[in-house]
């Protein structure tokens, strides 16, 4: 049998990866309510090989819902750095994207992707389970095509992310 090229190995790895994703969800802002129907029999995300998970070390996806402020950002970064590669971040709702209705708040940090790399955003308030599922499907496509490379960007641009983090967290 011929030896497989590195490309082929990667593409098989990606294919397998996208079929078995475990998600840790960080829901201090909003939207935690949309996840139980997404996970359970109504919308049943397990049919795509997705499952909720409780610890950061075993999870592949970090789903962050709603606003993040200085206090919660610190925890999110800890969780993100505890996760093992490959890891993917989904921002859920307008707040992770641009601050949403809290754009003028003294605490909300507005843009998630200045602090950790986001692979995907679900815009709008609040995304229904259909939108969440379609985001997962999209993420699978990105993984398959090798475009979900947030964890690589985090390493490559570590100085940029760390500087931004230091600016708000002190």
């Amino acid at each position: 049998m011929e030896k497989m090229t590195e490309e082929q190995v990667k593409s098989i790895a990606n294919m397998l990866r996208k079929r078995s994703l475990w998600m840790i969800h960080y829901c201090t802002g909003c939207g935690a309510m949309e996840l139980p129907p997404t996970m359970t029999s109504r919308y049943d995300m397990e049919r795509f090989g997705l499952a909720p998970y409780v610890t950061s070390r075993q999870a592949d996806i970090l789903l962050i819902t709603g606003y993040l402020n200085v206090k919660t950002l610190r925890r999110v970064i800890t969780v993100y750095e505890q996760m093992l590669d490959p890891k993917y971040v989904i921002g859920f709702g307008s707040c992770t994207l641009n601050g949403g209705v809290y754009w003028d708040s003294y605490a909300v940090i507005k843009q998630l992707d200045r602090y950790i790399p986001a692979d995907l955003y679900i815009a709008g308030c609040m995304p229904r389970p259909e939108a969440v599922i379609s985001a997962f499907r999209h993420l699978m496509e990105l993984i398959d095509s090798g475009k979900a490379d947030g964890y690589k960007r985090y390493k490559r641009n570590l100085a940029y992310y760390k500087e931004n983090q230091r600016k708000v967290l002190g």
């Binding site: 601050g99 754009w103 003028d104 003294y106 605490a107 940090i109 843009q111 960007r153």
Partner: protein, 160 residues
């Protein structure tokens, strides 16, 4: 209900307004708050639901209020007092209502009000590394603070 109002009126130095069924305002001067709260508890208001502050910046005052509830009578009584905005100090109510301890800690952080007798007042509570005016004061400019500290997204795509 009216017999309770009469009982409250018996406390020294209070001004009682019945706003509507089951809601009473009890206004007192700053130095009589603690004794009033004590007497309210004796009357039957055993629960402190909320203690908080309103910044009455036009009058140059802070309004401190305590929302009390009586399960027995099903009445809310709101004890209010006003203090100066300059060097604001209040006395702790945590010997009467233990939950006041935490409310006061939040008040001292969010409004910069010193709480006498509460050893946790002034300790960091919710905010981290806060160096500006206390954020719930009306003269604190939230938009300015936010735009100075957190970058707003103007264009599409990631900022790399």
């Amino acid at each position: 209900m009216m017999d309770i109002v009469d009982k409250i009126k018996g406390i020294e130095g209070v001004k009682v307004t019945v706003q509507r069924e089951n809601r009473i305002f009890v206004d007192v001067s700053e130095d009589k708050v603690i004794s009033t709260l004590y007497n309210m508890k004796l009357i039957g208001f055993h629960q402190l639901s909320v203690q908080n502050v309103i910044d009455r910046i036009k009058d140059n005052k802070f309004e401190i209020f305590y929302v009390l509830y009586s399960r027995e009578y099903k009445i809310n009584a709101i004890v209010r007092t006003w203090i100066d905005r300059e060097n604001p100090v209040i006395k702790t109510a945590d010997k009467i209502y233990p939950s006041a301890h935490t409310w006061e800690r939040e008040i001292s952080e969010m409004f910069g009000i010193k709480v006498d007798g509460n050893e946790d007042s002034g300790k960091p509570f919710i905010l981290e590394n806060w160096k500006d005016l206390p954020p719930m004061r009306k003269d604190f400019d939230s938009v300015k603070y936010s735009s100075e500290h957190f970058v707003f997204r103007h264009s599409e795509g990631e900022n790399e």
